[in-house]
């Protein structure tokens, strides 16, 4: 064999393995980072198409149909596949290093999150190439426009299914990040010392945690409508309103999800480049934690002021919207206060941070006008709104995140970027951005989402300004790309802490970059500060506080990202920390979604089966990995307050269950909404067999009892009783599913077949009990795994947390049924 080629093949092979199988947070961070920029590129192309179309009145460059697709996918891709994932990329890279954790709490779940994100994005993009094109109902996917009737074809199905994958990815990610921040902080890293970026990522994750589950439920119902013909959003009994409520329950927190990471970045950059500490750190944190995060969940109907909701609801939500703007004033004042008394150094990161603040001020003020439901009636649906939210989403959020890219680039690559190019990049972006969006504030009578406008409307000049601005803004991003590429390729070696920042990430060594040429240089990256780990963990604000010298060495170890010393650079996760399962689950998702979207063709079903087979194969593999202990993580002792009394995975399960509460809460809420809207409903007992339902309820309740027995048994070390408990649980689960199946079968074969398309009562019944059944089935699969592990002697008095965690899940599924049974059978 040719030795050179053989060597190259091996390098290629290990390169592929690293990026496909990695579970290491810095690698995943880079994957998110690069992928999000690509999606940003796609979104920008769509934006330029839109702006070109609108540059002259009566333009025919895009047909109305293509224009709708461009607008829809532009919004979705930019918000969900570019903006948030860019922040998640930075968070993946820097949250663990900022708090001195070796990795995220659940590395494989983290990798899975990335692959689901990518899978969803690919499916959404694929929609453009389908007959009939992509989704075209706006990023809000308003019903019934998004229904199979008005948006037929596989394209929209791919997009909506892609959204589900994305929402699942984000929900899992939020559980993971919250668990990490709660549980894996290095000794000494108390909440009061935690860096601002990590804090704001924590806030972001808190918002994602309970907002995205509603999106998941809403999209699942939408998919059911599209694929099996239920009527959640297509019925005339409030279907459109139901979508509005669910979407905006997610959608408003989502705007802060987009914004808060950028605030976190800005809060890191400002003090460093002002040469002083962040002003009013506690006020910022308090205002965000106590007002922004909770209240963000309670303002959503300000997006629905003209949908026919009643006046009292409008008043409540108008006031809550006004209130939520107050903490932002405090935050901005604190930011400005930090700068005013500082010695400001206008390096590129600082420029972008200042730009972010300025643009947020404009965006925020214009938003306050919208919160008045009187004014909103005028502005709604006009370019004024478009200007408002681009000032916050692009202006505040993207400028802030770009600042973060420049700020951390030396840490990620070990090299310096070109400052002059950076400044030009900023200036052109700032000019281009304002030229693009400021004119839109004056287009208060031009409706948005229309593909063109008449020449005599007087809108031409402002639109042309905007289009020119758009091209300047887009071309300015060449500066970013240039800086990224040239820094990685040939930037001068960066000092370990070029900005003199005080947060912990600057003490960790630069990780090896696959794109980098000089690995050896990079390794030197962070070593300069290793002699002073203490200094690094000191909070901004109390530089003299002594945290106790005994924590020093442990801290250094944590910061190195690798238990056991940091001499090799911190890419220390070898084969034992690689896993092929996450990427293979991503593949299963892609294939399954392909199958679902193509069900109308004969080959849809086989493709779906193939996806299911890959899924099953992967899950079996994942379970076997665990049975053989192939992926075990050592846990370092750390700062865990207030969760120091709880086992990590149990805490993770409880956090996960909060999302499940919202998933099913919104599904049962939809049911109640429909019941309140529909005048006629079949009487209890007339369709569903109450004795059968009662039996099934008792079966499920008893299965909870057997799980309790199983947990009890293994706590005492009784493996045989554990086995008996698990087996009974499995059998009872199977009985439950069997009865459920026979019920469905009978209903389908009623004289007036009560099938999926038999009206709203059938829709809600099949969807709710179907999703619940899927949860039971998943639980049964886990029972099988636990049984196998018990047989292998995998549990003991000391080691039984998997059983307990399964118990939590199973009881939760039981509780769901406790509500489903009376709601569907008795009332």
């Amino acid at each position: 064999m040719d030795p050179i080629n053989g060597g190259q093949a091996r390098i290629m092979n290990s390169w592929l393995r690293r990026w496909l199988f990695t579970t290491y947070h810095k690698d995943i961070g880079l994957l998110y980072f690069v992928t999000s920029l690509w999606f940003g590129f796609i979104g920008s192309i769509l934006a330029l198409l839109i702006r070109t179309q609108l540059s002259v009145p009566g333009n025919t460059l895009l047909s109305p149909g293509s224009y709708d697709q461009a607008v829809t996918m532009h919004g979705l891709i930019m918000i969900l596949w570019f903006l948030s994932p860019l922040a998640i990329g930075l968070a993946n890279y820097f949250v663990p290093t900022q708090i001195g954790a070796a990795d995220l709490a659940l590395p494989r779940l983290n990798a899975l999150g990335y692959w689901l994100y990518l899978a969803g994005g690919l499916m959404a993009a694929l929609g453009f190439f389908m007959p009939g094109g992509n989704a075209n109902s706006g990023w809000t996917s308003y019903a019934p426009l998004s229904s199979a009737q008005y948006s037929p074809g596989p394209g929209p199905t791919f997009a909506f299914a892609g959204l589900i994958l994305l929402a699942v990815s984000i929900t899992l990610g939020s559980v993971n990040f919250l668990l990490t921040i709660a549980y894996l902080r290095a000794p000494g890293m108390t909440f009061s010392k935690m860096p601002m970026f990590t804090w704001f990522i924590a806030f972001t994750m808190l918002q994602m945690l309970l907002a995205f589950p509603t999106l998941i439920s809403a999209l699942l119902m939408l998919m059911a409508d599209r694929v099996i013909g239920t009527f959640y959003f297509t019925s005339s009994s409030g279907g459109a309103l139901l979508w509005d409520q669910l979407f905006w329950f997610f959608g408003h927190p989502e705007v802060y999800v987009v914004l808060l990471p950028a605030f976190g970045v800005v809060a890191e950059i400002l003090p460093v480049f002002s040469g002083r500490h962040l002003a009013e750190r506690k006020v910022i944190l308090g205002a965000t934690a106590l007002i922004v995060v909770p209240l963000s969940y309670l303002v959503w109907t300000h997006h629905m002021f003209i949908t026919g909701i009643n006046l009292s609801t409008q008043e409540v939500y108008s006031v809550s919207t006004l209130i939520i703007s107050l903490p932002f004033d405090l935050i901005i004042l604190a930011f400005i206060g930090t700068m005013t008394r500082g010695r400001i150094s206008l390096k590129t990161p600082m420029l972008f941070a200042i730009g972010s603040i300025l643009l947020f001020i404009i965006g925020g003020i214009t938003g306050v006008f919208l919160s008045s439901f009187v004014l909103d009636v005028v502005f709604r649906g006009t370019y004024y709104v478009v200007a408002h939210f681009h000032y916050v989403m692009v202006g505040a959020a993207i400028f802030g995140l770009i600042g973060g890219i420049y700020y951390w680039l030396p840490k990620m690559t070990g090299r310096m970027y070109n400052e002059r190019v950076g400044k030009v990049h900023f200036v052109l972006s700032f000019i281009g951005f304002n030229l693009l969006y400021f004119p839109m504030f004056f287009l208060i009578d031009m409706p948005r989402r229309y593909s063109t406008y008449p020449a005599d409307a007087g809108w031409t000049g402002l639109n042309q300004l905007a289009t020119v601005g758009a091209f300047i803004f887009a071309l300015a991003q060449i500066g970013l790309v240039y800086n990224l590429v040239s820094t990685v390729r040939s930037g001068p070696i960066a000092p370990p802490n070029p900005w003199g920042a005080e947060t912990l990430e600057w003490t960790s060594p630069v990780s090896e970059q696959p794109v980098s040429t000089g690995r050896d240089d990079n390794r030197m990256g962070g070593s300069g500060l290793w002699d002073s780990p203490l200094r690094a963990v000191l909070p901004i604000g109390t530089p003299h506080q002594n945290i106790g010298s005994s924590t020093g060495p442990i801290l250094g170890m944590g910061a190195g990202g690798m238990p056991g010393g940091g001499t090799k650079g911190d890419y220390a996760h070898g084969a034992e920390h690689q896993s092929s399962r996450p990427v293979s689950l991503g593949l299963a998702a892609v294939v399954s979604v392909l199958g679902i979207g193509l069900l109308q063709y004969w080959y849809g079903l086989p493709v779906l089966f193939l996806g299911g087979a890959i899924l099953a194969w992967t899950l079996v593999g994942w379970a076997r990995d665990d049975l053989h202990g192939r992926f075990s993580i050592d846990e370092l002792l750390g700062q865990r307050w207030p969760f120091h009394e709880t086992v990590k995975l149990k805490l993770g399960m409880w956090i996960f269950l909060t999302t499940e509460v919202v998933v099913f809460g919104s599904i049962l809420g939809s049911y109640l909404f429909i019941r309140s809207q529909v005048p006629y409903w079949p009487a209890p007992g007339s369709i569903h067999d109450i004795p059968l339902g009662l039996t099934n309820t008792l079966v499920l309740l008893t299965s909870s009892l057997t799980v309790v027995v199983a947990v009890h048994a293994i706590r005492e070390g009784n493996q045989r009783l554990l086995l008996a408990g698990l087996c009974s649980t499995f059998i009872l689960g199977a009985v439950f599913m069997g009865i459920k199946g026979s019920e469905w079968y009978q209903l389908f074969h009623l004289e007036n077949a009560f099938n999926f398309t038999a009206g709203l009562p059938a829709s809600v019944y099949y969807f709710t009990t179907g999703l619940h059944g899927a949860h039971v089935l998943a639980g049964m699969l886990v029972t099988l795994y636990l049984i196998k592990r018990t047989l292998n002697g995998g549990f003991s008095k000391e080691n039984h947390f998997a059983v307990e965690n399964f118990g939590l899940y199973w009881h939760f599924v039981d509780i769901l049924w406790v509500f489903i049974f009376p709601l569907f059978y008795l009332i």
Partner: protein, 86 residues
Amino acid sequence: MKIATTLIVWVYLVTATILEVVIYSEFPGSTLINLSIGILAASKAVLIVMYYMHLKYEPRPIQYLILPPTFLVAVLILTLVFSVGH
């Protein structure tokens, strides 16, 4: 937690379920009845969370975790049901 507690909870769950069905079949349809069925269901849920899911014995921070989603779901449902009409 003692095994006896477990059993007592189970007996309550079963009894309450049967009670739900009995109440319904005696007087179907009235708001009051629906409400009492709802309360029975909620009481079952609370018992399962407290005893089977062990929340009663968990540290405070874990206990608090479950409050925000429950509260939000309540707000969502109330808004859903009461934002139309009146």
